[in-house]
């Protein structure tokens, strides 16, 4: 039993042989995260700022937009963009489809978080900055946004953790990131050890973030109680 387990999950021979492609996959995963996190943050900040508009003609469509992309599972959106759009002659390719899907999906989530952050900054901050002679954009960028970000930092980190984990769905559209490479290696060797190695890589990278979050969240709840 134990030997079976080691042989099918912790087979060092197979992991060593798969190591070069797993390594490349890890590189792609990190690259992917470095692309989609800023993309989602930019989309989210745009949504958060627009949702402060006075006109309901801006706020309403924006709420529908956010709720739609929060309701659709990200994988559904990705498949739609990757496999659906080519029927219209628009072929985004794996990278394009992943980037657009993440922009739409994670942008909606970051938007909610950042909006709560902006709401948490008292209006007096904006007024004071303006009174000091800062232009609106300066007041926003130098005074309001930094405080907003600080106030929702745990939620931002938590969302970013989810986004990095979510990059694994890119494997479904054959983008050669870590999970895709691990599955390739698994299907060639009929052995799950490469997937275990990939899981280990995710854990090593993301565990510190989970620990950090655990602390931030406990502090947040304790502060409320």
């Amino acid at each position: 039993m134990f030997e079976d387990f080691v042989d099918s999950f912790l087979n060092l021979d197979i992991v060593l042989r798969a190591l070069p492609i797993l390594w490349r996959g890890l590189g792609q995963t990190l690259l992917l995260a470095a692309v989609v996190v800023p993309l989602g943050l930019a989309g989210g900040m745009a949504i958060a700022l627009l949702s402060r508009a006075k006109s309901r003609w801006v706020r309403w469509p924006l709420a529908v937009w956010t709720d739609t992309f929060r309701a659709l599972p990200p994988l559904v959106l990705l498949i739609f963009l990757y496999a659906g759009l080519p029927f219209l002659g628009v072929d985004l390719g794996p990278w394009g489809a992943v980037a657009l899907a993440f922009f739409l999906n994670t942008g909606a989530y970051y938007g909610e978080v950042l909006r709560a952050g902006l709401d948490s900054v008292p209006p007096g901050q904006m007024e004071a900055a303006r009174a000091l002679g800062l232009r609106p954009a300066q007041a926003l960028g130098l005074v309001v946004i930094p405080q907003a970000v600080r106030n929702v930092l745990p939620d931002l980190v938590s969302n970013t953790l989810e986004v990095v984990k979510l990059t694994s769905i890119a494997s479904v559209v054959a983008l050669p990131e870590l999970l895709f490479q691990a599955r390739q290696a698994q299907s060639v060797t009929y052995n799950a050890s490469p997937i275990v190695a990939a899981a280990l890589a995710y854990f090593v990278i993301l565990w510190p973030v989970v620990r950090l979050l655990s602390r931030l969240e406990n502090r947040a709840v304790a502060g409320r109680g």
């Binding site: 079976d4 387990f5 042989d7 099918s8 999950f9 709720d67 739609t68 929060r70 309701a71 659709l72 599972p73 990200p74 994988l75 559904v76 959106l77 498949i79 739609f80 496999a83 659906g84 029927f87 219209l88 953790l161 989810e162 984990k165 979510l166 990059t167 694994s168 769905i169 494997s171 479904v172 999970l179 691990a182 599955r183 698994q186 009929y190 052995n191 799950a192 997937i195 275990v196 990939a198 899981a199 995710y202 854990f203 993301l206 565990w207 973030v209 989970v210 620990r211 979050l213 655990s214 969240e217 406990n218 709840v221 304790a222 409320r224 109680g225």
Partner: protein
């Protein structure tokens, strides 16, 4: 094909949609069943782990924390793929449905444990002291005084997390489950038209838009002062 006409024939082809509607509908039922089983088992297991943690047994708590951290750090799809492709190597064969159920149940349990635990620790210490002063023992204090308050406190974050993880049922399509996305994809392959995918997206919207709305409502209610 002209712009709008082309779009309609491609993505909103009623003929294709009518043909595949029954298949998507049965996928819908499967998604709802899978989601319900995940929510029930995940929340129960999460609450159970948080209660165990309240006993304060050091070694046990390290185990719980490690387990929770693992399932918070790993991408759900990685866990699903690992269980689905890995376990047969040990002579245990899990269908795609149950591999997804087990994976997402463990993920939800991990997040739920953290959230319940945060609620338990946020309940003022005086509540424990008051319970003891009334002559109650540990378990009655935990179940009748602490947990009712803790659970109420954590309902908003718990709802949001539960919704997010439930949407992960779409990942089951990767291991061959014909839930909404899976059946929409095979319908698209058979019909050579992406309208079933549109139908699938509509099905998800029907399922999750109300849920997202309820989550928002709960959050707003909890945010009211004087709670």
């Amino acid at each position: 094909m002209g712009g709008l006409d082309g779009f309609v024939i491609t993505f909103l082809n009623l003929e294709v949609m009518a043909e595949w509607l029954p298949k998507i509908a049965s996928g819908f039922v499967l998604t709802v069943a899978l989601a319900a089983l995940i929510v029930a088992a995940g929340l129960a297991l999460g609450l159970g782990l948080a209660v165990l943690r309240a006993f304060g047994l050091r070694v046990l708590n390290w185990g719980i924390i490690l387990l929770v951290d693992v399932f918070r750090a790993l991408p759900p799809l990685v866990i699903i793929v690992l269980l689905y492709f890995g376990l047969p190597g040990m002579g245990i064969s899990l269908s795609g449905f149950w591999a997804t159920w087990l994976s997402l149940t463990l993920v939800l349990a991990a997040f739920a444990e953290e959230i319940f635990w945060a609620g338990i620790t946020a309940t003022p210490k005086g509540q424990w002291d008051a319970g003891k002063a009334l002559g109650l023992r540990f378990l009655p204090i935990l179940f009748r005084i602490i947990l009712p308050q803790a659970v109420r406190m954590v309902i908003p974050p718990l709802t949001n997390r539960t919704i997010a993880i439930t949407k992960g049922t779409a990942l089951a399509s990767v291991v061959g489950v014909a839930e909404i996305l899976g059946s929409a994809q095979s319908a698209m392959a058979f019909s050579g038209n992406p309208s079933p995918l549109t139908l699938g997206a509509i099905a998800y919207a029907l399922l999750f838009l109300p849920v997202v709305g309820i989550g928002r409502w709960i959050e707003r209610r909890a945010a009211l002062p004087g709670r």
